[in-house]
Symmetry: C2
DNA sequence: CTGCGTTACGGTTTGCGTAACGATC
DNA sequence: GATCGTTACGCAAACCGTAACGCAG
């Protein structure tokens, strides 16, 4: 599963059209269309119903919205956590030891 | 950020070595090594301290462990949510309308 | 000398953009 | 006719595996 594709998916859900989603994501329309297709193929489920020129989420599409939002939020959280930790001034003393003799104390 | 790379990262943290992590992930050692390098380059932070032949997580590495685990858990949750919704039998009537006349009611 | 991590290199996959087509209003 | 979504095609980037190197024990 590709993260950009998941971003495209949420953009389409929010904007309601591929054109607007592509513009907001900074890519072209075929990229979004193919990305949605890749997601649908990977999940083996139809995510949108093509009605006229609009994109309406199916029940599976609706089910994916929540987890997808949480996932992208966690991505930012993951990236931020390391930079926060790094910016905060702190020291660390790393001491690595290896057992020279095993005494039957295996984990 | 690539999901497989994040998986490699957690595998290295858990196993403590690249060789074991590669074996558990079903790939070869250079893939894991390059994946970790890619993560470190993208986050512009050193994730591991190379001590002898062991891999010890830095403070930034430790900070990434929690969010990374939650992220991979959410991935599975996202994939499962759509299949669960799909397997459950349910109907849906989609009615899509477009405003024919704008009356100053814009969101 | 053995084992582990890294680097170099080639192959393959695939995501993206440009261009052209079909469908809807 | 205008606009939106899709398909076709070519390119580029990136991931992975094989092979070779450096280094610690």
């Amino acid at each position: 599963m590709d993260l950009p594709h998941l971003r495209y998916f949420l953009a389409v859900v929010d904007r309601g059209s591929i054109k607007a989603a592509a513009a907001s994501a900074g890519v072209t329309e075929p990229s979004v269309s193919q990305g949605i297709r890749a997601l649908e193929h990977e999940l083996r489920t139809l995510l949108f119903r093509r009605i006229g020129r609009g994109m309406v989420p199916t029940s599976a599409g609706h089910a994916l919205v929540g987890p997808a939002r949480r996932l992208l939020r966690d991505i930012a959280s993951a990236g931020g956590s390391v930079t926060d930790t790094d910016s905060r001034l702190r020291g660390q003393l790393t001491i690595q030891g290896r057992p020279r003799f095993s005494l039957g104390c295996h984990e």
